[in-house]
């Protein structure tokens, strides 16, 4: 599904290398988790994959189902099936959440040569999915993420994911700023989307999200590289001993 080979990335405006050769394969139907200390390059990886500006790829490749991601505009990556759930979802005053969702859904459909969703059909689908995520009518009507609590913003991300039905989902610290109940709700939303044809890359600092979204593979990232990969037990090791032991072992 997602194939990253020796990916090297620096900041565009600074001579600062962030990713120093990342290798990662996420298969369809699998959930991979990336853990790692602050500044290890986890968020940069998610931004570079989704096409945010400000970074320069200096080497390596990233492909989604064999298609080069790095050569595409952000909207083309989205239409190709990539989705990033933001660590800090952006507030957009003046743009209604429903308008935003419908514009996004139809833009992707259009890009893929599919028929656009009618207003009535869209309304029906979005209401059902919003209900599962306990997103009320008021939240759908308000401007995108405006006045949303931390939990509401993250639920709104998952709603977008559910509406857009991507092939490859990247969750960037979706657990940050969430209380236990909110995290459970978000995790349920994600789990409901797990399927044979869909891959997940879950970026997190903490093991607790992985109690709810059970990963197949856990990677440890440090200093711009994946330094260790293993099963779910690797996350527990981090939780118990911190990163120091693992990093010491690697170095």
């Amino acid at each position: 599904m997602l194939s990253i080979k020796n990916l090297q990335v620096k900041l565009e405006d600074e001579d600062k290398q962030i990713l120093k050769g990342v290798d990662l394969e996420v298969e369809a139907g699998k959930v991979h988790a990336i853990m790692g200390p602050n500044g290890s390059g986890k968020s940069t990886l998610s931004y570079v994959l989704s096409g945010k500006g400000g970074y320069e790829v200096t080497g390596g490749s990233a492909e989604l189902e064999g298609v080069d991601l790095l050569d595409m505009e952000p909207e083309e990556r989205a239409a190709a099936g990539l989705f990033l759930a933001f660590q800090y979802p952006v507030e957009i005053p003046g743009v209604g959440n429903m308008t935003f969702l419908r514009t996004a859904v139809n833009a992707q459909r259009k890009a893929r040569g599919e028929e656009e969703m009618s207003a009535a059909e869209f309304l029906k689908v979005v209401r059902a999915k919003a209900k599962d995520l306990k997103i009320d009518a008021d939240m759908l009507k308000r401007p995108v993420n405006m006045g949303f609590s931390g939990g509401e913003k993250k639920r709104n991300e998952i709603l977008q994911m559910a509406m857009l039905e991507p092939k490859m989902c990247i969750l960037d610290e979706t657990d940050s700023g969430l209380d236990v109940d909110a995290m459970k709700l978000v995790a349920e939303g994600v789990n409901a989307l797990r399927s044979e044809g869909r891959g997940f890359l879950v970026i997190t600092h903490y093991q607790r999200l992985l109690d709810h979204i059970k990963p197949d593979v856990v990677h440890i990232m440090a200093n711009g590289r994946i330094v260790k990969s293993g099963g779910p037990e690797l996350a527990l090791e981090v939780e118990n001993n911190g990163y120091a032991d693992i990093l010491a072992e690697v170095v």
Binding site: P74, I92, P93, T103, A104, Q108, A111
Partner: protein, 426 residues
Amino acid sequence: MADLAVQTDLTEARIASLTMPEGTWVAPLRADALARLRAMGLPQRRDEYWKYTRPDTLTQVEAPKAAVLKTDEAPVFDGVERLRIVFVDGVFDAEASDDLSLEGVTVERLAMADSDLHWAKNLYGVLETRGQTPVARPLAALNTAYATDGVLIHVTGKPSKPINLTYHHKSDSSDAILHHCIKLDEGAEVTILENGPAAARFNKVMEVEVADRASFHHIRAQGRDHERRAATHIFTRLGTESAFRSFTMTVNGVLTRNECVIELTGDDAIANVAGACVGDGDFLHDDTVFITHDAVNCESRQVFKKVLRNGATGVFQGKILVKAGAQKTDGYQISQSLLLDGDSQFLAKPELEIYADDVACSHGSTSGAIDEDAMFYLRSRGVPEGEATNLLTLAFLAEAVDEIHHEELREDMTARLAAWLTRHST
């Protein structure tokens, strides 16, 4: 002294090019206005009040030519039940206009109102004169002196539908001067709609007297013709617990100066004036507003949003004057520009002058580009860059459009702005 001589020549040349229409009650009012005009002289580039907008093409004898835009787009307000009054290049078009009778209101043409006891005698040029201090507005005095026509609307009740003044533009060299007087009796309510490019050059004054507990709504769409020029003035005076709401949408036009002079003279009155404009290329739009609070517990709001690209210029001069004794004044002013490229500019002069000690006044003026984070967020969801730009641009304009207290018209204005953005997408 040389400047003064130049100014006098300019003013006299313009006066000589115009013919004062005849009339009964209006004749002495026109003569007074001419005297005011001569005393002030027409504006020049060096005038402080015209610092950002060159007045030459508005004051010169001949109107610069302006091509008539051919469009298939349905006219604004088309679907709205309304009383239509049509002017073509400033000339009343009886055939295209509706019968002027409507319950709760009397509507007459200025050019036809001969009765010497006409109510408009106490309004025509009166609010304009009041608006001449502390800042001179010579183009308005010129209008009062030389307006060839206009409508006199006396609102005694609550007419069932809006009155729509439509200004068609047919000749590429037309120079139109229209003057409207609108008087709302106590408790009366009316909505005035205006639309159309009017003429190659248009000078329009609207004087609006709003009595106690009366309510005036005004929604205006200035036509799309690219080369048209317009200098418009609204003068209004508000009584106790009355309301004045005015919204203007401007798309295109090489030069537009919209002045709005508001006096809150009765307690607990509300004045809202808003504008949304979009300009591409050879475009200058100037919103000049002067609001005087002269009563207790009044609220005023100014909300102006401009979208500028390809070298377009936006100007905002907005002042709130709170007189001594105008306690509990709530004055809000915001003027913002979205600059879609580095060639466009926004010139703003927000002013507050306050002589009362228990007031809340705020003003904000900003210009900036599209928010990059919002842009990336939209694109990451699959919305192409052009569409995302338009969505964010409309969102930027929404605060001004939301000042329209009429859902159908608000949606129509939004749709027009969206259509413009789509047409002008890069």
